[in-house]
Amino acid sequence: MAVLVVADHDNVSLKDNTNKTVTAALALSPDVDVLVAGQGVDAVAAQAAKITGVRKVLTAQSDALGKQIAEALAACVTPLMANYDAVLIPATSAGKNFAPRVAALLDVAPISEIIEVKGPTTFVRPIYAGNALETVESSDAKKVITVRGTAFKAAGEDGSAAIEAVDPGAGAPKTRFISDELVKSDRPELAGAKIVVSGGRAMGSAEEFHRVIEPLADRLGAAVGASRAAVDAGYAPNDYQVGQTGKVVAPQLYIAVGISGAIQHLAGMKDSKVIVAINKDADAPIFQVADYGLVADYKTAVPDLMAALGDAG
């Protein structure tokens, strides 16, 4: 059995999600190749070639692949599946966008966001916002799977696989890229961060979110997250959203400030190692999952916390 992993990258650098997906792939087969599909991705491919356990790196390049257009990615990956028994794709917005297309074109059932490989045909995945775990067995000869990165350890980087170019495929003739509006940040990326500080509706404004959440995150070297309520109200950009329909994170430390702890929010952070909640309502559901709860107004608690961190050096 051979497995193809589709790399997570932004044409500039390889993302840690790729290493995590390789770990899931190695649980299926020792024969794991990585596809880097994009534009100008030679440096990314070189990085992928270092991932421990990878047999070969394939590169496919075109403008449409560089913009991660779903039709183009599916047109590139589907023919490659003649040589593979499974394709594992990181469950990022780009991965979720094209993986089901590959499955439909192969006439197989996609398996979304697995968190465990039980055997060559059996996988575990969360359903109902993580309130239940489903163990599914696939009878398809070829498997199309997206992988939740937080559930797997990243493979190391002491390999030296060969790199080979493949056909980028037919592109996306009916879809045109118009523009990107990407948020630039020097902070760690939410999905892979060791510490995440998230703010909720309690912030009340974008200014307050900047004033309170960001300095605390910077003091801890943390990524910034938010609840849906905070994002909807415009206090934080949409890609900060943590939860069932936002990002799933599992950092060492998750600090929720002024977040009530709705099931849809918990779905995105309850696998964090240590959870801290700061909320003025002692009955807020977030305290039911928090390792350390501080019942207080954030307006005093966060400055106190900054001061205490300062003292602690």
Partner: protein, 249 residues
Amino acid sequence: MKILVPVKRVLDYNVKARVKSDQTGVDLANVKMAMNPFCEIAVEEAIRLKEKGVVTEIVVVSIGPIQAQETIRTALAMGGDRGVLVQTDADPEPLEVAKLLKAVALVEQPGLILMGKQAIDGDNNAVGQMLSALLDWPQATFASKIEVSGETVRVTREVDGGLQTLELDLPAVVTADLRLNEPRYASLPNIMKAKKKTIEIKAPDDFGGLAGGHLKVMKVTEPAKRVAGVKVENAAELVAKLKTEAGVI
């Protein structure tokens, strides 16, 4: 232009899912069911497109048990024009749903299919993408803005890192994200009017039948529970505990 909106009946999002003790699934007996929130957003957007004069007819389709009629009725009360229920008690997986929806689309010939990005029961996030691939129509998932002009649609999508805007040739498949709009409540007069709108009841065999599952659910279990920890008195105690007890800073 005609628009097709597939909607799914799911456990109401306010209700916490409970796993059945025999581990065969989630308990759906005597619990509140409702339209999948993302489908509601798709219905709302279809209505807004009709109000703008872009769309002339909104056809709402659901695949599910007879009770899914209620879900369709809700969409008609919001402003949909007519409904199609493909009635089945099987719980078809995304591939089968996509195949049935393709067959419905070939009959209805819509200019646009607008649907939810994800059903909050299975959390698959797959049917729209599969339907688009099967029809060989372009797709734009996770839409937060939709503008139809002539033979194309411009969609702003929520992606990791920000937003992406694409232009698709019509017909196309678009899936709705949370921030596309805020769905309206149906008014009482519209609820009354919706009672007179037609819902055609069809069988999977009218649309090529159910192919049979590729996936078998072996068991459904409860995730490990987190236990509530301790309350700390103040920020200083919190920092001390994070350093010495948890060792995370």
